[in-house]
């Protein structure tokens, strides 16, 4: 951890001012990721700007359009356990509770969840080449131990995955991200927030320096009747997904009227393929149709020496979780597989 200055910001303008145009000045909210990165020297900072004092962003509010606004500074735990979220957006609640640990969820904020960085071993080890940490240095994972890495959307320069569970649900729900900054406010669709690595893997998302997330808006539709979050990993809890799947269905009897499927643990961002969701529209909720949708989602998937298994695993996980979404009470703590 290097030596840095610390300042509090009580409103978003102050936060922008404190950041002062320098990328070496960084925002801290829950601190669960940045403090870790600072300790490992993956990140260095001249100044941390503590945005917790910003009062506006600490609440969850019902919106006039039937949706809900999640304050950027509300903790993951308070979001997951919020009565509105539990009732109307249980998919989001389950996904959040599948992530990290209870302590971390008590600290980590919603805004921070979107901005967390990859858990790639090579990214975290400052003595190994990594294009994300040090552009141009190379990717150690492609020829290294890549069990946890991407199978979709990766590039020659980076095969890291985005580690969030919450964001997989937010992607499935079609949330939007409210951003404010020196150039004013803007709204990004969730799918446009995170980026694929391409040849700029050091840029995780489209938040510009100086901007901050003020909140995340959930649309009115919460898929509260048929939803499921499934997370597959190397132990039952407190570890990152090898593959995770968020599902939301609107059903008309046995016919799917709307489907949402997003994957985690497989790409540089939550992975959602609209063709697959369109395919399921007005089809029967059957295993065969789910399998066909899974094939569409996984088109173009490419594995490496240690993560080839993710391709068949993701397919089976999609099918299973579609089945679980038909029977949402089958879900188990830690988003473990059931049925």
């Amino acid at each position: 951890m290097n030596n840095f200055a610390y300042a509090k910001a009580t409103d978003v303008n102050q936060a922008s001012a404190q950041l002062n145009g320098s990328t070496q000045n960084k925002i801290v909210a829950g601190g669960t990721n940045i403090n870790d990165l600072l300790k490992y020297f993956v990140t260095q900072a001249d100044k941390l700007v503590d945005i917790n004092p910003i009062i506006d962003n600490h609440t969850i509010t019902q919106l006039d359009n039937g949706g809900v606004r999640l304050g950027a500074l509300v903790t993951n735990a308070d979001t997951a356990y919020h009565p509105i979220i539990e009732r109307d957006y249980p998919l989001l609640s389950k996904a959040i509770l599948a992530g990290a640990s209870a302590q971390i969820r008590n600290m980590a904020t919603n805004g921070g969840n979107l901005n967390q960085r990859t858990r790639c071993y090579y990214f975290y080890d400052v003595n190994t080449p990594c294009n994300k940490r040090e552009p141009g240095s190379g990717c150690s994972a492609i020829k290294g131990y890549n069990r946890i890495h991407a199978i979709l959307g990766q590039s020659e320069s980076c095969i890291a995955v985005f580690p969030s569970d919450m964001c997989v649900a937010l992607a499935a729900l079609g949330a939007t991200v409210n951003i404010t900054g020196p150039d004013g406010d803007r709204i990004l669709a969730f799918a446009d927030y995170h980026r694929l690595p391409g040849d700029t893997p050091h840029i995780d998302n489209n938040l510009k320096h100086g901007e901050i997330i003020t909140g995340i808006d959930l649309p009115a539709k919460g898929f509260e009747k048929n939803y499921s979050y499934l997370k597959l990993r190397d132990r039952a809890s407190y570890s990152f997904a090898l593959v995770s799947v968020a599902i939301g269905f609107d059903l008309d009897g046995t016919i799917i009227s709307e489907a949402r499927i997003a994957l985690g643990g497989v790409a540089h961002k939550p992975w959602r393929v609209s063709e697959a969701e369109d395919f399921l529209k007005r089809k029967k909720a059957t295993r065969e149709n789910f399998a066909a949708a899974a094939d569409i989602i996984l088109q173009g998937a490419v594995g490496y020496e240690h993560n080839n298994f993710k391709i068949p695993l993701a397919k089976r996980a999609i099918i299973r979780n579609c089945m679980m979404a038909l029977n949402p009470e089958s879900q188990r703590p830690g988003a473990q597989p059931s049925l």
């Binding site: 290294g144 809890s237 298994f309």
Partner: protein
């Protein structure tokens, strides 16, 4: 007041209150005045040499007191031997900051000392090293052609090479009607006790040090420091009353001790060095192994031939050996055997014993091979074990001092419900899950080391015992107090077992499941000695009712001596002490195993584990839903703490089978998951129904207490039982540990 006999009672840990209130102090927690903090810098290359060091950025930092590298370290002992601790394998011991050579990635190459922890931590990142890199090798499987026979040395006594061949294995195997063969590979594991290595060194002036050290051997650390730094051993006191886990990693002094002592002596200051979690991956570990086995049986299921050839990993400078391939013939009476064990020297730190070293890796292979053989014979796996059961040790022909393995098999099988098993793989299902039952045998040595104990009877009639051993969480303090209580006839409240201090009488390091026997037997011996003194003193009291009583007619009961025929006639210890006008009575005694008697016997602890797994049919995810382990380890002093030892090792077995592995990147020559986020040990949610049985095993030969250790035996059978259960569930033999669930897709 606690009741006697205490042995056999499930006494709660006597230090429990300190541990649940946070008042238990560990090595890096002593509040010492004017403390300086050291932070270690580690090599970022795997092999080569340091060509330049730039410390200018550090020197500019306020609060930095000193930087030590090989260029400016104070002089230390010349000879390797003086660096060799009690557990040093044959070879040339690693000497921190000795010269510019880099032997492994993460090698400690500098120490920064500063006025506070944060400054030291930051400064450690600012030193710039230039290196000249050399080619390295770190993978075992890719370098098997470089295997060599392990060097022999002092450590070979405790870890002999495998026994010579018996009969003609190749011939017997080629002619056998039923045979199996397989290769087993194991990943690297790191002990990762939750407390990170730390030493707080108190500079007492002129070559005198008091050291709070995280270690499994206070005297081992003491002698190491004295030898390396040329101090008189009496001037070095090492204290480790609370140790936050060891699992073998503390059997050798770790480098934070060297660093902290060096800095303390040089700066004449109190110094603390604590390692960070990634540095916990820069010293000893459980080695990678590759094992090839071939077993054969006759048509009736008698095992006729066993070949177990294993290759382990060691460093470039020491030959660390395990007992990996010698176990099968201690169990199964095959007439033809061939056992081999070799090492490959890699550019990694020397491995160090890790809970059930060799045993758990070797028995995984052996018991999976036996399972395969059972299937080949179309025989129940338990029946095959019983068919080949030997009351004596087939490898030596000697009888065991005791062996209740058969009871372990039968009691555990019954409790588990083994008879409900349909042998057909994949035949048992529960919804979307395949259910598998697997079993395996465990065996571990029953070590006993020499130990010395001092006992003091105070004028209040209470007992204080002194011994240098640690209590790494095993329950040593509680159990030793119980042993003493029964021997002297005092309640636990009146006995203090004072330990974890090199100043106290000798104890070996706490390893090999040996301390309960070692120190326990010494306690019995020394208390007997004290009792003689008490009787003598009591008889000498003017008008003593005991003057004419024979010693054997006097008993010790409720803090008093009494007449055996009339216990009402008693004289309390307190009264005796008052009457003889002495402040204390003392005795000191060394005790060890009865080598002469024991040389005619083999000695071992045994276990049998039965495991149920559920495997998701589609996704392959594996859950150990139930496990029963029966242990035969002689008399159990404290069923509560002993059970915890076995439960803990069963979880270690689950971890070894399914979770933990240190990921080695051979291109970079380093470990990539040197943290607890990616080095997966089981979380609470991974642990389901676990059950422990202690088989009734009376052993009148092993030692006076009839006890064997329980620290490791509970681990040995679990990995194979899990692998066998997975086979039973899925029909797939996964012989590489840990088993990743995707291998079942």
């Amino acid at each position: 007041m606690t009741k006697l006999p205490s042995i056999g009672q499930p006494v709660s840990r006597l230090e429990g209150r300190q541990k649940v209130t946070g008042s238990a102090k560990y090595a890096g927690e002593y509040n010492v005045s004017d403390l300086l903090y050291g932070y270690v810098v580690n090599s970022t290359i795997t092999k080569g040499k340091i060509t330049a060091i730039d410390t200018s950025a550090v020197k500019a930092l306020k609060g930095v007191e000193a930087i030590f590298t090989h260029e400016n370290r104070p002089s230390t002992a010349w000879f390797d031997l003086q660096y060799a601790d009690m557990d040093a394998p044959p070879g040339t011991v690693f000497k921190p900051l000795h010269d510019n050579k880099i032997k492994f990635n993460g090698q400690p190459i500098a120490l920064v000392v500063a006025q506070d922890f944060e400054t030291a931590r930051y400064a450690a990142t600012l030193i710039k090293f230039e290196y000249e890199e050399e080619a390295f090798i770190t993978g075992l499987v890719t370098n098997l052609d470089k295997a060599h026979e392990p060097k022999k040395g002092l450590a070979t006594m405790l870890k002999p090479p495998p026994p010579p061949p018996v009969g003609d294995f190749e011939k017997a195997y080629s002619c056998a009607p039923v045979k199996v063969a397989a290769q087993y590979t194991h990943a690297t594991e790191h002990h990762n006790p939750l407390e990170m290595y730390a030493s707080t060194v108190v500079y007492e002036g002129k070559g005198k040090l008091t050291i709070y050290d995280k270690t499994q051997g206070t005297i081992n650390s003491q002698l190491f420091v004295a030898n390396v730094f040329g101090l008189h051993y009496k001037d070095v006191r090492v204290l480790s009353p609370f140790v936050g886990g060891g699992f073998g990693s503390g059997l050798r002094p770790q480098y934070q001790l060297f660093m902290a002592v060096m800095a303390s002596l040089e700066l004449k200051h109190n110094v603390r060095v604590t390692l960070d979690r990634s540095q916990m991956f820069t010293f000893g570990h459980r080695p990678q192994t590759v094992q090839n086995l071939r077993f054969a049986a006759d048509a009736e299921g008698n095992v006729t031939a066993m070949n177990h050839s294993g290759i382990g990993e060691t460093s470039s400078y020491e030959d660390y050996a395990e007992i990996l391939t010698s176990w099968s013939h201690m169990l199964y009476p095959a007439k033809n055997t061939l056992f081999e064990y070799d090492l490959v020297s890699l550019d990694l730190p020397t491995p160090i014993d890790m809970r059930a070293p060799g045993g758990v890796s070797g028995m995984h292979a052996i018991e999976c091979m036996m399972d395969e053989l059972a299937y080949e014979l179309k025989m129940d796996p338990l029946e095959l074990r019983l068919k080949n059961y030997s009351e004596t040790d087939p490898s030596t022909g000697k009888p065991y001092t005791s062996k209740a393995l058969k009871q372990c098999y039968l009691e555990a099988a019954e409790k588990f419900g083994w008879d409900k098993r349909n042998p057909q793989p994949g035949s048992m299902q529960r919804g979307n899950k395949l259910v598998g039952y697997g079993m395996a045998t465990g065996i571990w040595d029953a070590y006993q080391f020499p130990a010395r104990v001092q006992v003091i009877l105070t004028k209040e009639g209470k007992l204080i015992l002194h011994n240098a051993t640690t209590d790494i969480g095993t329950g040593t303090m509680t159990v030793m107090t119980q042993v003493a209580a029964d021997e002297i006839g005092l309640p636990l409240e009146d006995i203090t077992f004072d330990y974890g201090d090199s100043k106290k009488p000798f104890s070996m390091f706490q390893g090999g499941s040996a301390i309960t026997s070692s120190t326990g037997v010494a306690i019995v011996a020394v208390v007997k000695e004290l009792k003689k003194k008490i009787i003598k003193k009591a008889k000498g009291i003017k008008g003593s009712p005991f003057s004419d009583i024979k010693d054997e007619d006097i008993i010790f009961k409720d803090g008093a001596i009494a007449l055996r025929s009339n216990p009402e006639l008693a004289l309390s210890f307190k009264d005796i002490m008052t009457l003889i006008k002495e402040t204390e009575l003392k005795a000191k005694k060394m005790a060890g195993p009865d080598v002469l008697k024991l040389k005619n016997y083999s000695k071992a602890t045994h276990s049998a584990s039965f495991v149920e797994v559920e495997v998701d049919k589609e996704l392959g995810t594996i859950t150990v839903t139930r496990a029963v382990t029966a242990v035969a380890a002689g008399r159990i002093i404290n069923p509560k703490t002993a059970r915890s030892q076995v439960l803990g090792s069963m979880i270690w077995g689950i971890s070894k089978a399914l979770h933990e592995e240190t990921i080695l990147d051979e291109n970079l020559g380093k470990y990539m998951n040197a943290n607890l986020g990616e080095y997966h040990i089981p979380v609470h949610a991974d642990i389901h129904d676990l059950d422990v049985i202690f088989a009734d095993e009376k052993d009148e030969l092993i030692n006076e207490l009839g006890i064997k250790g329980v620290g490791e035996i509970g681990l040995v059978a679990i990995p194979a039982a899990i692998a066998n259960a997975i086979y039973h569930a899925t029909g797939k033999r996964i012989n590489s540990l840990p088993i990743h669930f995707d291998a079942l897709l």
